[in-house]
Symmetry: C2
DNA sequence: CAATCTATGTCAGAATACTGACATGAGTCA
DNA sequence: TGACTCATGTCAGTATTCTGACATAGATTG
């Protein structure tokens, strides 16, 4: 087991803690989604489509933080199984707007309940003030990290 | 990119934002580590060993948030390339304490500089108070998420 | 108008991490 | 002591995601 709680650099690193939190969140989500036969990326895709119907493959990929190739494979599976539909030909350009089917919507409903329970649990013990503080701080981190990628 | 308020609103979800921040951090780290021919898991392993020499394969896996099988494959590669050493036989039980070689330490030094620059950038624009607030909040999330896994 | 640039969808192969399984060593308990 | 449980290291196969590459549609620019 962990021999000692020796406080070293990793113990005080916000980056490490961010990774730890993200890992815990992912594990918790996988746990509640597994009984539904759904992965996190799978759920993310359906949730994005519910909130923004007609999103393209590339837009879904960016929203789920995977490559468009990965999302394409997932969409083909979801389409084959009847959870989403895409037109055979692009109305404009090459972009294929994707939509949830009735089946996809019903599948998402159960998943949303499960995922919401995780989010509620994660927020337990945090005040409203702390939650909005966390929101602001995470946005600040994202902004600062992206700055370096594009600009410099 | 407008959204209608159905289900879990991704624009206001702390879970989604946490995933976004973690994704941005990972991308930024990969970018600075790629020139050094090092992956994030690779770096995490070396950093853990520098701070806690003698860690076992399983302990490293937990610290880097991967399975012990994944870490084992990585350790075999690192050992083959002379970055770490493990005794041929376990001093006690089956646990093989791992240590950095001189080469491993030198390789880590460059990586640490690169990664630190990312962390500094991430923290830019945050006050000391905000940083400790973020620390406390992330720890609270982790604690709450783990609660459900073990206890219930 | 033509050349160029950017973004998209998609196929294929490579890299990475995971689950399953097995044998082994250490601690627990009756 | 012997049975049981737990954690470990490791091998093998599977799953998931990524990188590379290509053709094509729309926008931009001269």
């Amino acid at each position: 087991m962990s021999q000692n709680g020796v406080g070293v650099d990793l113990e005080t690193s916000l980056g490490y803690l961010l990774k730890e939190a993200s890992s815990a969140l992912r594990a918790a989500m996988e746990e509640v989604l597994r009984p539904l036969g759904m992965s996190v990326t799978h759920y993310s895709c359906l949730e994005l489509l519910a909130q923004r119907p007609g999103l393209s493959n590339s837009e879904l990929a960016r929203g789920a933080f995977v490559t468009r190739q990965t999302m394409n494979v997932l969409l083909q599976a979801l389409e084959r199984e009847g959870y989403v539909t895409r037109p055979a030909e692009a109305p404009v350009g090459k972009v294929l707007p994707t939509r949830l089917t009735h089946r996809g919507r019903r599948s998402l409903e159960k998943a949303t309940v499960a995922v919401r329970s995780v989010e509620v649990r994660m927020l337990a013990g945090m005040t409203e003030t702390e939650q909005s503080g966390a929101f602001r701080i995470l946005q600040s981190m994202i902004h600062s990290l992206r700055e370096g990628n594009d600009g410099a």
